[in-house]
């Protein structure tokens, strides 16, 4: 009995090693793309500032200091202070946490929902496909920000509600993508081979078709992250996202609007942060597409 278990563990270990070596090959190819590496570096900086915000911050992001309100960038306050005298650099660092939280929440919910709906629809065809895809069409037809607005208005403003609202509008493109991939592979010989072995449609969808949809979805996901950040900032800007005193970047721009002509840095600095992070995700997404997109790879 132990012998069998041992070999089984050995099998799993070898399998992990095989997968790891595939991943290493992928990483090596990715490293050959300079723009992608810049994107990855930006994402790394974002992650680091989110994780180490308390260590990196020079001031308390919530503590007002009315004496130094609206002071320009200086040695004391690297990126200046806002209307309550709070240090903008420290607020942007803490704001990275909120940005990552929203992006993470949206991606972790919308991509799997879209993937499952699309893969099931594409594989089963017939009325299941029709019903799922018409629902998808309905969601696609509603303007993104408007639906998010209505949703937040109904549930009340806040970060989690903003993320949910964005999810509501973000999943349909994933469903479309996954369906398109599923349609390509559902009648392929390797899927038929599973049918011939008596595999259930459930097993076929989740174990054999979904892995094939995954690369398109991951590419789309990375490219979408920039859009998610912008939408979240937009919701924050109109006051429906994160609530004060949270240092959400969109909300920070919103308060800075009042001083934009005299104290430009209050709105500009969080704006720059949004710009740089969005750019980073876009660069990363482009690099991922070059490597993973099955249609580009087929042509190559």
């Amino acid at each position: 009995m132990t012998a069998v278990n041992l070999t089984h563990a050995e099998t799993r270990r070898q399998l992990r090693r095989a997968r790891l070596s595939e991943f290493t090959k992928f990483a090596r190819r990715f490293a050959g793309n300079p723009l992608g590496m810049i994107g990855l570096a930006i994402l790394g900086v974002l992650l680091a500032s989110a994780v180490f915000a308390p260590l990196l911050a020079t001031h308390d992001p919530y503590l007002p200091d009315l004496v130094h309100r609206l002071s320009p960038p200086s040695f004391e306050n690297w990126l200046g202070t806002d209307e309550l005298g709070r240090d903008i650099f420290s607020r942007i660092l803490y704001g990275a946490r909120l940005t990552l939280l929203i992006v993470g929440l949206v991606v972790a919910t919308s991509a799997p929902i879209g993937l499952i709906i699309g893969a099931v629809a594409g594989t089963s065809g017939g009325w299941v496909d029709a019903v799922f895809m018409r629902i998808t069409d309905v969601f696609l037809a509603v303007p993104k920000l408007l639906l998010a607005l209505a949703f937040v208005a109904a549930l009340g403003p806040g970060i989690v509600n903003a993320a949910l609202a964005i999810t509501l509008t973000a999943w349909p493109p994933y469903a479309r993508l996954a369906r398109a991939e599923a349609l390509i592979v559902r009648d392929s010989d390797y899927v038929n081979a599973v049918r011939l072995a008596g595999g259930s449609e459930f097993r076929i969808v989740f174990r054999h078709i979904m892995p094939m949809c995954l690369s398109s979805v991951i590419v789309r996901m990375t490219l979408d992250m920039a859009g998610i950040i912008l939408t979240a900032a937009g919701l924050g800007f109109i006051g429906l996202g994160a609530q004060p005193p949270l240092p959400e970047w969109g909300a920070m721009i919103s308060t800075g609007r009042k001083f934009i002509f005299d104290q430009w840095w209050v709105a500009t600095m969080p704006g720059l942060a949004i710009f740089i992070v969005s750019l980073g995700f876009n660069l990363l997404g482009d690099a991922m597409r070059d490597l993973l997109d099955p249609h580009l790879r087929r042509r190559a």
Partner: protein, 256 residues
């Protein structure tokens, strides 16, 4: 072992197979010949249950394809596909591909059996953790054969098993199949457009044209050119000309 009576298959309004009947004895190797579009592959796929819309009767062993349970059928008959580049899942290792049918059918000792199958088809345990893109076409087709054998079927349906491969590799695969048939007592149904392959592999064959069965022949009849039907003769002549023309392949026994 296999009995097909009056099989007809329709795709929409198009007729893919019309009133085809055949029977294959246990342990026999049976060939289906015809040009592309003649319906020979459709017969195989229908027997394996990959086409839903068919009429007639199909029996494999004592399983009636209409009434029998799929779980029973898959243990009796399995299929090897034409294109080894399309028949293996690109994200699964070779070992996983071979083990998958056994896992689906909840068999025990899957690990040991996977290694045994790999060795049976002339690969080694080291290939188990490779991905399909790391293997050659011939190796992939061996893996596809191992996967088909993993449930220990008695019938193997082969859809142009060598047509996607190099000539030099074709011979290896055909010899492997012949050895496996002897050792495991398998029944073969082989679809091919290559008369040389059929003549080397099959005891009897059926010629198909335009969705219909044209003629039944034995291997001896094929080799002596003893045919009744004009179409068969044309096909036979074409393959002769092809062989002398290219000079690449010699007699029907070239694989031996």
């Amino acid at each position: 072992m296999i009995r097909i009576d009056n099989l007809s298959v329709h795709f929409g309004s198009a007729v893919a197979v019309q009133n085809v009947s055949l029977s294959v004895e246990s342990g026999e190797s049976f060939g289906l010949v015809g040009e592309s579009g003649s319906g020979k592959s459709t017969v195989l796929r229908t027997v394996m249950g990959l086409n839903r819309h068919w009429t007639g009767d199909i029996r494999i062993g004592d399983i009636d394809l209409r009434k029998g349970r799929r779980r029973d059928l898959v243990r009796v008959a399995q299929m090897v596909f034409q294109d080894p580049y399309a028949s293996l899942h690109p994200r699964y290792t070779i070992g996983q591909a071979i083990a998958e049918p056994m896992l689906i059918n909840r068999m025990s000792d899957v690990d040991a059996r996977t290694v045994e199958l790999l060795e049976m088809i002339g690969l080694t345990e080291a290939h188990r953790f490779r991905f399909p893109h790391e293997l050659s076409g011939g190796q992939r087709q061996r893996v596809a054969i191992a996967r088909a054998l993993s449930l220990s079927p008695t019938v193997l349906l082969l859809d142009e098993p060598t047509s996607a491969l190099d000539v030099s590799v074709q011979a290896e695969i055909l010899n492997l199949l012949n050895r496996l048939r002897r050792e495991l007592n398998l029944t073969f149904v082989i679809v091919s457009h290559d008369l040389a392959v059929i003549s080397y592999m099959c005891d009897r064959l059926m010629v198909m044209q335009n969705a219909r069965a044209v003629e039944m022949l034995t291997r001896a009849q094929l080799r002596t050119g003893d045919m009744q039907h004009d179409y068969t003769r044309t096909l036979f002549r074409a393959s002769r000309r092809d062989r002398t023309g290219t000079g690449a392949s010699a007699e029907a026994g070239r694989y031996g």
